[in-house]
Amino acid sequence: MTARPPLPDGFVAIVKRDCPTCELVQPVLVQLADAAALVAVVTQDDPDFPDLSGAGSTPERRFDDDLAISYLWDIETVPTLLRIEDGEEVERIVGWERASWEQLTGTPGLGPDLPEWRPGCGSLSVDPSRSDELAARFSASGLRSRRVRFAELEDEFEAMWDRGWSDGLPVVPPTEARVARMLTGTTRTPDDVVAVVPPDLVECTVEKVAVNAVLAGCLPEHLPVVLSALEAACTREFNMHGLLATTFFSGPVLVVNGPIRHRIGMNSGVNALGQGNRANATIGRALQLVVRNVGGGLPGGVDRATLGSPGKVGFCFAEDEEGSPFTPLSVARGLDPGTDAVTLFAGHGPTAIIDQRSREPESLTRSFAAVLRANAHPKLPLKIDAMLVISPEHGRIYREAGWSREQLMERLGELLLLDSDELVQGAGGIAEGIPEAFAGLQLPKFREGGLLVCHAGGGAGLFSAVLGGWVNGEEGSDPVTVPIRS
């Protein structure tokens, strides 16, 4: 933070010409200068204002054209009258109110022709068009990232692309003002380390996350989700390194629960898994840009995906908790109801489930099981997780029948108990499968906890979705749910 420009001891007025109340109090300032009480006048917009030519003493005139005095002395309203002692502010009043001006200055009979009271105007230092730039100018010394100056003729968007900072889509230039504004979205301090980011195992600060959140197009209120998602991604359980490096399709899928979904305008409704919502689109992208830029994880570098998937640009959505027949995903995963939370799942997709005929949970659950059985390969059990996203029209069938999440999971577990004779290598004329030694068993398609269920989507459409997962457990990734910390 820049040091405050010193002000002299005594009364100091901060004014601007473009303020009717400041115009109004001009004669009062002359009176105070006459009484030698006013030692300085700070003017924001016009060095010739106010006119003190008739005054008996000449206060110091300060033209605050760069607003350093106003910003660093926290002036929010003009006129402000400060009383300074030993270089420190001891009292201030804002706007015009005769009684308080007389009391503060000990000068009776101020502005006899003026009304008793007039509110002040906004200080230029809090003008929305100036405040970000001022915040950056006066607090940017606290930002530690290297400054990169583009050349005069360099197109800034091309320049960022050339430096490898983009996932292929345009990124927003992370200027000091934008990064400073982004950091207002969190109470964490900029140099706090959030996580050690793979593949280069770099300690990543809140500030670096903020820089990448700017690139991604986030708003400041999105930042807490990005920070918490990064913490979750960089756990040993989630294994972001392996997920990045794999030849498989998957990337981090983020599901957000809790009141924050509404506060930051996330989409859990129409086209929830698709494009068009800023929070959904940019939060997932910001996480991936941190992995790319801070972690050094580049496609063709450590990222060895054979085909990849479009969700690797960013895959984030909110659960429709209010319309759900079931407990929220975050609660099913152990957090208290009402907690802001993000769940990370190593996945891709979606794969469609059409069922426009079922009107009973049993029939619909059988449809779900039939599609889930094919997750990754119909003959491969246990090793690959999945997330089932149930739409409102399908969810209604469970609600009307009074089914709970636990009932659904239990029935799916029964329906997805597979006869291993059908799964062994060669069975069904397909070489892929499990070793012959496992013949003669009943094997679950999903390991315990390997099937996640949530609720999202628009109100019309008897369709749900499977998001296929990656290898689970020690070899791969376990889903991770964390509370979102502001």
Binding site: R147, V148, F150, E156, W165, V202, V211, G296
Partner: protein, 92 residues
Amino acid sequence: MTTVLDPTAERRIAERARLERPRSLEGKVVGLLDITKPRGDVFLDRLEDGLRRRGVADVVRFAKPTYTKPAPVDLRHEISTKCDLVIEALAD
């Protein structure tokens, strides 16, 4: 001029990396780009003679439509596909 904060781990220099310079001209196709200022061609003719004597595979001549504007994208693309390196000559 825009100043931005580096979003990376800052393990590499912030400037764009230059392409590696060729160690020798032997066997290379060299483009000579005339910016079309007067007598630039005289200089480039001498350069072409010199390059051919030094064993380059070929010398290909190009010219900008006008020296007052950057080379059009099609011309830049053509040079990049036909040549290993390019020498741009300014003359006056």
